[in-house]
Assembly symmetry: C2
Homo-oligomer: 145 residues x 2
């Protein structure tokens, strides 16, 4: 338990979300595991501590969190949604080989775009991502040669 529980509780009550035990645990997990986890990863970890935990609860909770901008949904892989609580604006890099998602901190001119119009559309979220081969995989390949 790295993240302070009171802090997490406040994050929910501030948004008028009832801080149930399940919700607190899920949010705590997200804060402590900034690895863009899947629903399965979250569920499998928490079911140890809360044996009655249901996967549906994980889905429901993440939906509420997403609607309240507590987490971002990352759909980069195309197979399953990943979840991210890193609130600082950042991009993602998906390695096509090992499928790991890296955070990329390239400063964007968010403030110039967010909540303003682009061709008349109201922008609420900005997502940027890159795909390629990650450093680790490049090095592994080098060794094989």
């Amino acid at each position: 338990m790295i993240t302070n529980m009171k802090h997490i509780k406040k994050e929910l009550t501030d948004k008028n979300i009832k801080p149930t035990y399940q919700r607190l645990c899920i949010l705590e997990y997200l804060h402590d595991n900034l690895v863009h986890p899947t629903v399965d990863m979250i569920y499998n970890k928490l079911v140890d501590r809360i044996p009655t935990m249901s996967k549906t609860t994980v889905y429901n909770t993440l939906k509420i969190f997403s609607e309240n901008n507590i987490v971002n949904e990352i759909t980069i892989t195309g197979t399953e949604t990943r979840y991210d609580t890193n609130c600082k604006s950042h991009q993602h890099f998906l390695c096509k080989k090992c499928k790991k998602i890296y955070d990329i901190n390239i400063t964007y001119q968010d403030s110039e775009i967010i909540n303003k119009d682009i061709f008349g559309h109201k922008v609420q979220e900005i997502h940027g991502y890159f795909k390629g081969i990650c450093k680790q995989c490049l090095e592994n390949d080098k060794i094989k040669d």
Copy 2:
């Protein structure tokens, strides 16, 4: 048939992809319908002309196209993959209300990033997208008020 068939055929042979009738029809459809279609949209349109067309063929073909950079896979919605042959670098805007995907042409400094390293990772694709409420939906809401 807006796009020239010979042109399409060349696009495939240039990449050593056998230009079968099914593949030509799918690529032609993609060129003529830059609406980020789903597999279902492609299949349902083409099955009229090719009654034996199988949805699996559409999947197989799009996979080959994607691997050869003939189409881009757009996973913005999180529910199904959309396909795009617009080769000019551009971003996408997903309307959270009507689910339509718009092309957004904000010039990026692609050339500065593509095929170069970002923190040691080799970047092969750049994707950028925005989510929000589109112009049309904003106007529809205005009328209701």
